[in-house]
């Protein structure tokens, strides 16, 4: 019998449909259906000015907007032959790690709620708010930041920011211990999650599954280490790896990643304290300069030939490896923008890690994938 879990289902965390063929409680086959949230971001990008596309990238993934902004901006900088100042790169590292913490805590809250635990959900949402406050204090918004610019970032950190961020880091490390006490310290959690939704390393590699799911299977692969971007080559951190590739393994990987993120945030704060400087590149073309961000639409005649270029960027987004490809044909909007979403791949592999388990196991397994449908459908 085929049943539809979705598009409106508490398990889905968004708008997608998981069709499941069952025999009693046993899952025989699954068929994930995505596309309910397709907004055509890639196509819209083709007639938008480079800096305007940043507003779209925030909405690509609504829990990790900063990561997608950075992804696109890195690609666009390569296509437009612009080099950001070093301080902007470090601010990007800082923002991205704060965003990773926020995204993982959001995942934690949603995941434990799938297991039926209400208190950790509230704790998670409460703690994420501090990170959103941090982001808001220098970007100006809680979720749709519009902070990165081609050639740097919009503004510098406000005074006193680094002290506040350090306090939050201290406080968060306490919270991670509490999370572990609530989950790993609970027999119920282990009975619910251990050995569930196993995806072996070889299968991960064969299917292109990336991110915490890949690392939970024991593969040490992290683009921040393997293909450093921004200032990640100057940051000291460890890649979180777990064994087993099951739900508990994904939990352990994300928890360890959060601890490493705090470590990176501290290093970035130290660097930013020591090295003041400009955070937006000088010598930007006029139409990329911040005050006149998007002049160039609506019948403006730009009788100039800007250098053409191709941009390719790959970042370790909180959910996995995200790639962007930007084609610059010498006008003020890109010819083509292609985004690769990690969750799309991770979800498409659902058959491999769901078949053989019970229907009641679907919420914890899919919860451990960390789904953000805005990013899947773009």
């Amino acid at each position: 019998m085929w049943i539809n879990m979705g598009p409106q289902h508490p398990m889905t965390h968004g708008l997608w449909n998981l069709r499941v063929r069952i025999d009693g409680e046993l899952i025989l086959d699954v068929d994930p259906e995505m596309g309910y949230l397709h907004r055509g971001i890639e196509k819209i990008s083709e007639d938008r000015h480079y800096n305007e596309i940043i507003t779209l990238m925030d909405r690509t993934c609504y829990v990790a907007g900063m990561a997608w902004e950075t992804l696109f901006v890195l690609g666009a900088e390569q296509a437009l032959h612009v080099t950001p100042p070093e301080r902007a790169e470090w601010i990007r590292v800082l923002s991205e790690e704060i965003q990773r913490l926020g995204s993982h805590i959001m995942w934690y809250a949603a995941f434990v709620q799938d297991l039926g635990l209400m208190s950790p959900f509230l704790y998670g949402m409460r703690d994420r708010d501090l990170l959103l406050d941090l982001l808001q204090s220098y970007t100006g918004a809680r979720m749709t930041y519009e902070y990165n610019r081609v050639g740097g970032v919009r503004n510098d950190l406000p005074s006193g920011f680094t002290d506040r961020a350090r306090k939050v880091c201290d406080w968060l490390e306490d919270r991670f211990r509490e999370y572990d006490a609530l989950c790993l310290g609970s027999a119920i959690f282990h009975k619910r999650c251990d050995g569930l939704g196993v995806l072996k390393a070889a299968d991960c590699v064969r299917l292109g599954v990336t991110g915490p799911m890949l690392r939970s299977a024991g593969v040490k692969r992290d683009l921040r280490k393997d293909r450093p971007y921004s200032a990640y080559d100057r940051v000291d951190f460890d890649v979180a790896v777990a064994e087993g590739g099951d739900v508990t393994g994904r939990y352990l990987v994300r928890m360890e990643e959060m601890r490493q993120s705090v470590r990176i945030v501290r290093q970035a704060l130290d660097w930013l304290d020591r090295n003041p400087g400009p955070c937006l590149a000088e010598n930007l073309p006029r139409w990329l300069g911040a005050p006149y961000a998007p002049v160039g639409r609506e019948g403006y005649l730009l009788r100039r030939n800007y250098p053409k270029g191709l941009g390719f960027s790959a970042i370790e987004e909180p959910h996995g490896e995200a790639l962007a490809y930007v084609v610059n044909e010498g006008v003020e909007h890109p010819y083509r923008v292609k985004l690769k979403s990690p969750i799309f791949v991770n979800l498409s592999a659902a058959k491999e890690y769901l078949v053989g388990y019970r229907v009641a196991d679907i919420p914890p397994i899919m919860g451990s994938v960390d789904i953000c449908v805005g990013e899947v459908d773009r």
Binding site: H49, N51, E52, I54, T55, S119, Y123, R126, D127, D129, L130, D133, L134, Q136, S137, Y138, T139, G140, A141, T144, E146, R154, N155, P158, G160, R164, K167, V168, W171, D174, E178, D180, A181, L182, C183, L184, G185, S186, A187, I188, H190, K191, L280, E282, N283, R286, G289, A290, P291, Y292, A293, P294, V295, R297, E298, Y300, L301, L302, R303, R304
Partner: protein, 258 residues
């Protein structure tokens, strides 16, 4: 804390293993009685000075994440008096939610136009306030926008000016103008001296200068035109491009002086 290795070990200690998380939750509960993590909106607001300067409280320990509202991008404030009608905010809007509408107090022939913002479309990206060369369009910390009719979401310039008069904290970010900006250049042979650019320039930085009328050569017709040419004062120019868009002959363009 390491999880127990075997199934037997786990089931033996399961009472403790359930009790431990409960104890953690109970500790949080007791702490939250003294220091709640929430505020009593709308009687308290996060942008209140007491939250700005000091504390966000989160179960047990006060955290000084104050001043989160300094750069907040909320409803716009418009100072009509200093607005020069340059149109840059409307051009920079990715959602096309800004319309330039006529406000009283301008020259009757060329009325003064100020931005009218449709908050049904606005995405609060802040590009308009970044683009404003005079700093008269800024974003404030106001965020309560509920209305009962859709038409009320459209804020006329006068209403934005009222927001300005409330003196809410405004986004202080002023992006510096890049050093190597392009200038308005003239493709002189195409110009007909029609004065459209100088007439519509919001900063009045374009002057029409007389140019000599060439002497007629035999067999050649002198083109019919006004013998004037625009000269742009680069230091006053805000690079809004109005002159380019009004030029009937498309003889003005962006470029750099050699």
């Amino acid at each position: 804390m390491s999880p127990p290795e075997t199934e037997a070990e786990r089931s033996n200690s399961s009472v403790l293993w359930v009790a431990k998380p409960l104890a953690t939750a109970a500790r949080q509960f007791v702490k939250s009685l003294w220091r709640p993590s929430t505020i009593v909106y709308p009687f308290e607001r996060l942008e209140d000075p007491k939250f700005r300067t000091e504390v966000r409280v989160a179960a047990g320990k006060p955290i000084g994440v104050g001043a989160v509202w300094d750069n907040y991008r909320g409803v716009h404030a418009l100072n009509i008096d200093t607005c020069i009608s340059c149109n840059l905010c409307a051009f920079s809007c990715p959602d096309l939610c800004i319309d330039m509408v006529t406000v009283p107090g301008g020259d009757p022939k060329h009325p003064k136009k100020c931005p009218q913002i449709d908050y049904g479309k606005c995405s609060y990206c802040g590009f308009c306030s970044d683009a404003c060369p005079e700093g008269c369009l800024t974003m404030t910390t106001r965020y309560e926008l509920s209305v009962t009719k859709r038409a009320e979401m459209v804020y006329a310039p006068e209403r934005l000016h009222e927001v300005y008069k409330t003196k809410l904290p405004m986004s202080p970010i002023r992006v510096e103008r890049p050093q190597n900006e392009d200038s308005i250049l003239l493709d002189a042979p195409l110009c007909i001296g029609c004065n459209a650019c100088a007439r519509d320039c919001p900063t009045k930085c374009i002057t029409m200068l007389d140019i000599p009328k060439p002497a007629a050569k035999p067999g050649e017709k002198i083109p019919k035109r006004i013998w004037k040419e625009p000269v742009v004062n680069d230091s006053d120019c805000v690079r809004c491009g109005t002159c380019i868009s009004v030029c009937p002959k498309e003889c003005l363009f962006w470029g750099t002086h050699r």
